[in-house]
């Protein structure tokens, strides 16, 4: 009893300390927002890409206000909805305060909401996981999985990640994009097809790449949350049931199985709901867009200058991705071919990963996001921030990951080296584009190592579970 009390106490203190850290992160952001002019983050190529830059958005808004197409002049490439949502904030002033203040507050709010949603998702995942471990009678493991609240860790990692902070203070729109993705994951985890569909449609509308998340979302809704491989449960219900002389208890367990909706069968109903809602939301979003750009070129121009711009890699200004340099160098007549190759790269990995990781849809979503943030045409630190935040959700499963310290040092080193190389190239003139591109490649390498290592750690964790389950007395 006393132990329970102590645990409760501890939980309470943990919760309060979580909110303290959240508040601290908000205060830290506000301090940085105050020094916005000095930091000048919004002009860094790592922070604001052609898609996420607030300055381009302000330009688009200005064009729209003067009743021109916001896509005229190839400055703005985002969604028209974002334009109506954030656009007014870029010109609004409150009593002599600088005009970026409202935008900054909006982005800070988006970050906090994302963190809270990540936390809720993490708690869902954790309870479901420890339940399924209990069901496998791996009590030891299930107890240890409860020690550290992965939701809290992930939320705090997301909030305190320098990448997130920089993306938020640097006024790129990626906090909004990240919020949409996290919203869809949260909706799927809490089995709310309409919310999941809304998040997915908005995220796809804003940055196109989250479209591939439809597979993990369907798995999440169909199979339920992340769990150990399904084979183990099958073994449990059939193999062990025969051994057990008292059939009553096995019946009970089966009931329990049904009760917590274990992922043995694929349930079509929520998936159908999801698909229905997704179509409803997409029609809705498209209708809003067409209203917004009706007199200025219509939907076709919108698609051309948002999705078309993303897919054809028109803007070759340096960013932290690997595509700009390549397409600056490649001969024009090979351009289309390589465009197809690079985009296929993402699509090729979808199917094998979906087959191998179908019992862990959330982790699958993490891997997809990671891969697309690596290979997308205009990546920014905001995308990496989302990946690292989601990475925290699997802290228990990935406890034995290799090279963690190496990866950490690499991330720190490269993210410091990249602005220095940029300075050397652009301001000092003693370096050249290769210097900067080298850091972009190094960054991509570290991302690859992270995704490979985390996937293999996850598979090892599955193997370990199987071993423990089989050797269990």
């Amino acid at each position: 009893m006393a132990e329970m009390e102590a645990k409760k106490e501890e939980k309470h203190s943990k919760r309060s300390s979580f909110w303290v850290w959240v508040m601290a992160s908000v205060v830290f952001r506000l301090i940085l927002v105050y020094f916005h002019k000095n930091l000048n983050l919004s002009s860094r190529p790592e922070v604001s890409t052609p898609l996420t830059s607030i300055r381009r958005l302000a330009e688009g808004y200005w064009l729209k206000q003067s009743s021109m197409s916001p896509y005229a002049g190839s400055m703005y490439h985002g969604s028209p909805l974002l334009l109506s949502l954030i656009g007014p904030l870029t010109v609004q002033r409150i009593q002599g305060k600088p005009n970026y203040l409202l935008c900054s507050l909006l982005f800070v709010l988006a970050d906090v909401v994302s963190a809270v949603l990540i936390r809720a998702t993490g708690q869902k995942l954790q309870t479901a996981y420890s339940q399924s471990l209990k069901l496998l009678e791996l009590d030891n493991l299930s107890r240890s999985s409860e020690i550290l609240s992965s939701g809290d860790v992930a939320a705090l990692v997301y909030l305190w990640n320098p990448f997130t902070i920089v993306a938020c203070v640097g006024l790129s729109t990626s906090p909004i994009e990240n919020l949409a993705i996290i919203l869809s994951l949260y909706g799927a985890c809490t089995r709310l097809p309409s919310l999941a569909a809304f998040g997915w449609v908005v995220a796809t509308h804003l940055s196109l790449y989250p479209a591939i998340l439809i597979i993990p979302l369907i798995f999440l809704l169909g199979y339920g949350l992340d769990a150990p491989p399904r084979k183990l449960f099958v073994k449990r219900t059939h193999g062990k049931g025969g051994d057990n002389p008292s059939s009553g208890s096995s019946c009970q367990q089966e009931e329990l199985l049904i009760q917590i909706k274990l992922p043995l069968t694929f349930s079509w109903k929520p998936v159908m709901h999801f698909l229905f809602w997704a179509s409803v939301w997409s029609v809705y979003v498209l209708a809003l867009c067409s209203l917004s750009v009706k007199q200025k070129g219509g939907l076709w121009e919108m698609f051309k200058s948002t999705y078309g711009f993303i897919l054809t890699v028109e803007d070759l200004s340096p960013n932290m991705g690997v595509l700009w340099y390549f397409f600056a160098e490649v001969f024009d007549f090979f351009r289309n071919f390589f465009l197809i190759v690079f985009h296929m790269n993402i699509l090729f990995m979808i199917l094998p990963l979906a087959i191998r990781l179908n019992h862990r849809p959330c982790f699958l979503a993490f891997v997809y996001i990671m891969i697309s943030s690596m290979l997308k045409s205009y990546p920014s630190v905001g995308d990496s921030a989302l990946c690292l935040g989601l990475f925290g959700l699997f802290i228990f499963e990935l406890a034995d990951m290799q090279f963690s310290f190496f990866l950490f040092s690499g991330y720190v080193g490269v993210s410091l080296l990249s602005p220095v190389m940029h300075n050397l190239w652009i301001w000092r003139g003693t370096g050249n584009a290769n210097f900067y591109y080298a850091t972009a490649m190094a960054f991509a390498c570290f991302q690859i190592i992270l995704v490979v290592q985390s996937t293999s750690a996850m598979l090892n964790h599955d193997r370990k579970l199987r071993k423990l389950y089989v050797t269990k007395p």
Binding site: N38, N40, R143, A399, P419, W427
Partner: protein, 717 residues
Amino acid sequence: MAETEAETKSVTSRMRQRPIVRLGFLLISQSVIVSVICCTAGVLALLLLPVLAMNTYISENALMPGSASSMLSHQEILEANKLVRDIASLTSKPAGAAVESRGLIAQYMSNLGAEVNYHKFHPRSNQFHPLHFFSGPGSEAIQDNFSCSLYGVNTVGIVRAPHGDGKEAIVLVTPYDSVRGGVGEALSLGIAYSVFSLLTRVSWLAKDFIWLVADSQYGEYAPVTAWLRDYHTPVFGDLSSLNTEMCDENENIFKLKENSIPERNISYTFRHAGTMAAALVLKVAYRNEHFEDTLSIYAEASNGQMPNLDLINIVNYLAVHRQGLRVKVEKLWSLLEYKWLRILGEILESLGKLAKSLNPDWKFGISASDYVEGTATLASSLYYQALGVPTGPHGAFRDYQVDAITLEISPKYSFNNKDRRSDFLLQGGRLIEGIIRSVNNLLEKFHQSFFLYLLTSPGKFVSVGVYMIVFALLVAPLPLVAASLYADSNDLNPASRKDKKPINFDDLGGLLKSWKWLNSVKRVFVVHLWGAIVSLLPYFISQICDYTPTTNFLIWISLSMLILLILHQILGSPYSHMREIHSQEGEWALLKSVTISSLFIGLSLMSVINFATAEIGALLIVPTTLMAYPLKLDIKARSLRSLSRMICNLVLGVISFPPTTFFLLKGVLEGFKGINAGDFWNWIESLWAWNSATYLYIGMVHLPCWVLCVHILLHSC
């Protein structure tokens, strides 16, 4: 028994499969030997650099220095002499000399048909912009207040090129203090004037020529920066009107002066020419040289940036082969007297001779005196680059990616010798003319030759490809040792795998076994945070109180200690969940591993920003961090090895503390007499006032690393 055998077999077979992995394991397991070898090799290679230096060559063919014969005639020299005389006569009567000499120079310029304008500027005190490095020039807003009574006026003359399109320009700067100007400055004006008057008539000029007479009463650097800032930041509307709003009464005086000059070409509106291809700063100083006329070249700009080597090459070529000047670059004179350096030089010389006798094609020997001179020059080159403070007004140009150097000509005879003056003017004028003619030939901006190099003599240099090896050798042990320490403390090493304990899932320590480095990372982060705070402190101290440097220094030290204590209390105390990990035995090893990794990252970054700082810093801090070992364990061991390690640790710990390093170096180079605790403060203040990256390096890499080393030394294992 059989089981362990099988295990080792499987391990060996796995290792046999991948030679690279095997090699990596070998290096990591032998990290002590590897680090000793690498560090020694690094120091030796540094001493070998003067031998490895290459002769300079002109890389850009378009420059063609000295291919055309000089057109500067006695006519121009006569006029220049007249200007020098006029200015000298003006300076003899002090009242109003400043205004009049300015008017005089403008008059002379406009008489030649050049466009002339005055540029009024307000000198600004240097301010601390810690992030200045990452932003471009001109990003500092024009918001700082300046007093209106303090202002200087630059005089700018522009010759438009008859064949040019006005998109490129060459700049010649002559600092001239209109109040206290001496004969030297008048002579530099004379040289510049002779070239200027020649260039108004020649037909070959393809780039506009700008002659900036920088008003150097507030230092030589400030007027050039002010002019460059206004040149590169477009001001929409009239600049003078902007000034009128701020400083009203000055403008009235100004207008009066303007009216007194009845020339149409002279104006107050800012005149532009094209982008600058190169800039020269010309100074004349009498240095009492006994042998011949000498030319000193100063090239270091802020943060160790150098102009393109081709610019130095053409100056060197023309000065030596055409004008017969003796070219010098800075040397650390005290190094010349060291015995051990001479002995080392003699050894190298005999080695070179030996090599030559074995194979006549091997030519790497240089004479001992050359070696000593080269080392002294190299040391000063390293020092001035590491300091990150520009050595002259040319530094301002580098911020705008313009290659620039300062030329200081010192004649053999004193200035009073009137007969020699014409010869001297001719010589200097022809040199400048040759350089300008060369730069005029350029088709693109300087890009062919090196930007990253160290000079060992005016005609010899060490390129980035060579000196990077030295640095790489020094820092190569860092990742190896970090990996080996990390592997040891995590039992990842295949050798120590046997006594593997079963993982205990019940506690957090067992669960997050592979993440236990996080705790050490937190400590290292806290110390680096402290470093950042410490490097911000001097700015506030100098803002708030106005004490002597020594007091400031003491305040700084005590505040830093206080903050370190506070941070240790708040953040340094182990996180409640992590206590279990904290009490583990090998914690210091993990801490050292993380420290070394952070040092590696910091040094690599610094080597990109300012190589010289990273090199000097690595020489000091790398051995200290690699050696660091808890004193308690050494005392317990009581062997000769541990005793010597302890002594080494203590000595290195004392030496690598930045203030002691500074005082020791100062004492060795200048003598221990008259060393003052405030000197360090003054030095540091000069660093941050010039926005040197070295300052940030000391505060945010070197000092935290030193603190962490001391922490490891005093660790209670």
